[in-house]
Amino acid sequence: MQAFVKETGLVAPLDRANVDTDQIIPKQFLKRIERTGFGKFLFFDWRYLDDGETPNPEFELNAPRYAGASILVAGKNFGCGSSREHAPWALMDYGFRAIIAPSYADIFYNNCFKNGVLPITISEASVNALLKKAAETPGYTLTVDLETQEVTDSSGFREAFTVDGFRRHCLINGLDDIGLTLQNADNIAVYEANRPSWAAIAG
């Protein structure tokens, strides 16, 4: 997994609450069997007009000033709905390395950490302040630092955030958590030996 330590980048505002994973990556793109290449389908139904090719000029992220953004600021309950990991794959492939929102849905939040995308939770008031700055200030950038657990800008904005210590450790070091679990192979074998016989799948 790609590690995440610190990211300074252009900020794109998406002032919407409850952005579900069906919006982040619609179902027609879930048929692919690869992990890569989902960026061009990110926010597909919002991003393109009905022909599926022409960028929708009304969609926030299509404004030229947000091209190349690597930090997305959005409303509460971001990533709700389907468990599709294609959502963080699409965000990452598009170029987003960090998301800043007041809250996330659980499965999406988990999925981000498996893919080197950092979901940062800060207060709704601070998110609103960042949405405003990103909309009003051309070229607005933020720095997100997972080691110090701070979001800062060049004009004095500074907000602390917290990430569970274990997740933080894994993300900073880009660890393969399957490998970590397999270090417990002996414990797993002991657990399995003690499972009751009715726990087997009969038939």
Partner: protein, 467 residues
């Protein structure tokens, strides 16, 4: 010993190892796999040279993107076909049992797990699908995971998990006639919101929940995720035991006796504390319908479309405004006057035999309105065969419903069953997100009997006035 909730009992009995400052490593009793969220996981195993640790606890099916029309015809969508072929070859390579497209036991993963006896009380169950919460109806800890976690469970049969908080949602009293499990869960989500249970494992309790059939309990637990819950569960009782007994893969003989005795010990102890408790009065729940683009945007069928001004919070006002625009609705319109283009009966929420019976019972010699295309998609081939044995297929077909093969179908529109832009649909499924059933499609979530009645009337109706 300290009184424990059912969640705590199941959690504690599945901890393989727990180090300070790290998530607990939980053992997984049952891993369900489908074609959409597994290809990259199997590919990961291949790249790392890892086998599937417990193929005997892993079961796969095809459900999300399969056609529900004549399956003797070739699959025309080549990308879908590749995904199905990939699951087939992965299951073969890694020794995983697969219910293939043409298998007589094929169906939606959350329908076949319970009906074949894979799902039992006390288990930990995962699947790369958010509606895995369905299985909690048996008193199991069941939750959806992403593809990286699918790979993790395939490789290790374990999953590192941080412990969620616990929430009791108690629905007191007796449900009124015409009010179903679907209405109960829509009322719950309407009350607590789509993130009301985020970070919690929910246990549903109370007389109204206990009185539900296993099918009804599955409907309630299924939609736990729409309130953000990590899992939803209902304590096992005699109804649960009766449902599991004798199913193909359920324990047999002495194993059955030990298992059934254990399952009845899982209920939350008297005096055990939940982190949060929510209460609803079951008797006052009306048939519900969604009017917006999130499962929390619901109202009793007797209500009118709300106005953004009805909401105190600025974020909510913006969301409601946007939802009304997308749905083509104006504040004040009576919900019962909304005309429909399509009706979908099916999904892991409401595609079980009892749901089809409830829908068929409403038809009673009526015909589907000329302006409506109505679709019945059984949740599994077993459900479909059972419905045929009971003559339900004839009732649907004679009334003008399109009677299909089993699958996820128009719940998420990955296969050809989709809404066209602007089409309005009464659906027994679980999500009314923008574009969920097809780009520009407008979904109203309802119960099976409400969907059937709506198909006939051509608009949403209050099932309590149906004759």
């Amino acid at each position: 010993m300290k009184p424990r909730t059912m969640f705590e009992k199941i959690w504690d009995s599945h901890v393989v190892v727990e180090e300070p400052g790290q998530p607990a490593l939980l053992y997984i009793d049952l891993h369900l796999v489908h074609e959409v969220t597994s290809p990259q996981a199997f590919e990961g195993l291949r790249l790392a040279g890892r086998p599937v640790r417990r193929p005997d606890l892993t079961v796969a099916t095809m459900d999300h993107n399969i056609p529900t029309t004549d399956r003797s015809l070739p699959i025309v969508d080549l990308i879908s076909r590749t995904q199905m072929d990939t699951l087939r070859s992965n299951c073969k390579e890694f020794g995983v049992k697969l219910y293939d497209l043409h298998d007589s036991l094929q169906g939606i993963v959350h329908v076949i797990g319970p009906e074949l006896g894979y799902t039992r009380p006390g288990q930990t169950i995962v699947c790369g699908d958010s509606h895995t919460s369905t299985h909690g109806a048996f008193g199991a800890l069941a939750f959806g995971i992403g593809t990286s976690e699918v790979e993790h469970v395939l490789a290790t049969q374990c999953l590192p998990q941080s412990r969620p908080k616990t929430m009791e949602i108690r629905v007191n009293g007796t449900l009124a006639a015409g009010v179903t499990a679907k209405d109960v869960v829509l009322a719950i989500i309407g009350k607590i919101g789509t993130d009301g249970a985020t970070g919690y494992a929910v246990e549903y309790t109370g007389e109204a929940i206990r009185s539900l059939s296993m099918e009804g309990r599955m409907t309630v637990c299924n939609m736990s995720i729409e309130a953000g819950a990590r899992a939803g569960m209902i304590a096992p009782d005699e109804k649960t035991i009766e449902y599991v007994k004798g199913r193909t893969f359920a324990p047999k003989g002495e194993d059955w006796d030990s298992a059934a005795a254990y399952w009845l010990t899982l209920a939350t102890d008297d005096g055990a504390a939940f982190d949060t408790v929510v209460e609803l009065d079951g008797a006052s729940i009306a048939p519900y319908v969604s009017w917006g683009t999130s499962p929390g945007m619901v109202a009793p069928i007797t209500a009118v479309v709300p106005s953004p001004a009805d909401f105190a919070d600025e974020t909510d006002r913006k969301s409601v405004q946007r939802a009304l625009e997308y749905m083509g609705l104006t504040a004040g319109m009576p919900l019962q006057e909304l005309s429909l283009d399509k009706v979908f009966i099916g999904s892991c929420t409401n595609g079980r035999i009892e749901d089809l019976r409830a829908a068929a019972a409403v038809i009673n010699g009526h015909k589907v309105a000329a302006t409506v295309h109505a679709l019945v998609v059984p949740g599994s081939t077993t459900v479909r065969e059972q419905a045929i044995a009971e003559g339900l297929d004839k009732i649907f077909i004679n009334a003008g419903f399109d009677w299909r093969e089993a699958g996820c179908s128009m719940c998420l529109g990955m296969n050809p069953d989709i809404l066209q832009p602007g089409e309005r649909c009464a659906s027994t499924s679980n999500r009314n997100f923008e574009g969920r059933q097809g780009k520009g499609g407008r979904t109203h979530l309802v119960s099976p009997s409400m969907a059937a009645a709506a198909a006939i009337a051509g608009h949403l109706v209050d099932i309590r006035n149906w004759k």
